[in-house]
Symmetry: C3
Subunit: 105 residues, 3 copies
């Protein structure tokens, strides 16, 4: 296992998505954030099925930054319960893993 992590979250408004991405990278909580074109989300919310467009943020960071990044994102994010899931990176290219570490140090 490496010390790199991929974090996923979703945001309803493109500007908000870009501003959250900008802040996370600016504050060296993330090395890189990809903001993908809107996805169609179907989900349960307060006992009813709901459907909306969301922008997925794929956040690349180091394991040591996950807690601080979560705190910061939960403050920045307009949702009551934002998606925040962390995937462990099993392996990668040494140069890229090094770049992630360096970018958030």
């Amino acid at each position: 296992m490496t010390d790199a992590r991929i974090i996923l979250t979703t945001v309803a408004v493109h500007e908000t998505a870009m501003s959250i991405a900008q802040t996370l990278v600016q504050e060296k909580l993330a090395a890189c954030v990809n903001v993908a074109p809107a996805v169609e989300s179907i989900y349960w919310w307060q006992g009813k099925m709901d459907h909306s467009l969301e922008y997925v943020l794929t956040i690349k960071t180091a394991a040591g930054k996950v807690d601080a990044l979560r705190e910061r994102l939960l403050k920045l994010h307009p949702y009551e319960v934002p998606e925040f899931v962390v995937l462990a990176v099993e392996s990668g290219s040494e140069a890229y893993l090094g770049w992630i570490r360096e970018s958030v140090s």
Copy 2:
């Protein structure tokens, strides 16, 4: 490790993608499904290289629902061999992980 899982599958037709997503959420097999804009897929099929547009479904659920979800998806899906891969979620925000559990209970 958490009890949350991310499942990926792909579907060739948008309507089918949306209907599968709808059914999985409706039947409380998934808390949320994101249907992304079409990707270009290049792959091997029956000994030849092939190329087609597909819609990627990113399915968020609880580990305890994976088997039932797989059975249901394999019945709903028009492909002979649909993609069905499960990623374990290492950590996440407590509120979001709780929301996943609650949505599929």
Copy 3:
């Protein structure tokens, strides 16, 4: 854990993305590659924040092919430090996992 792996990389030019995907599948290093519509990437590069469009390649392969695929991709890729992260697939449908193995054997 299964022997399937999902590898992510990003490429700035669509044609390059498709040609890399084609080569990896053609040379049986990958069973399937999805090339997604462009994402907006925000990242650190040489001490400055940068922002560009990139195409995300989601590569499905077998664990035994990861090293060879990394070597090949690093040669094909125009970046100095391409993204190359590997996610382990916890479980999946037997038929799909078998198709991955067969496609890269």
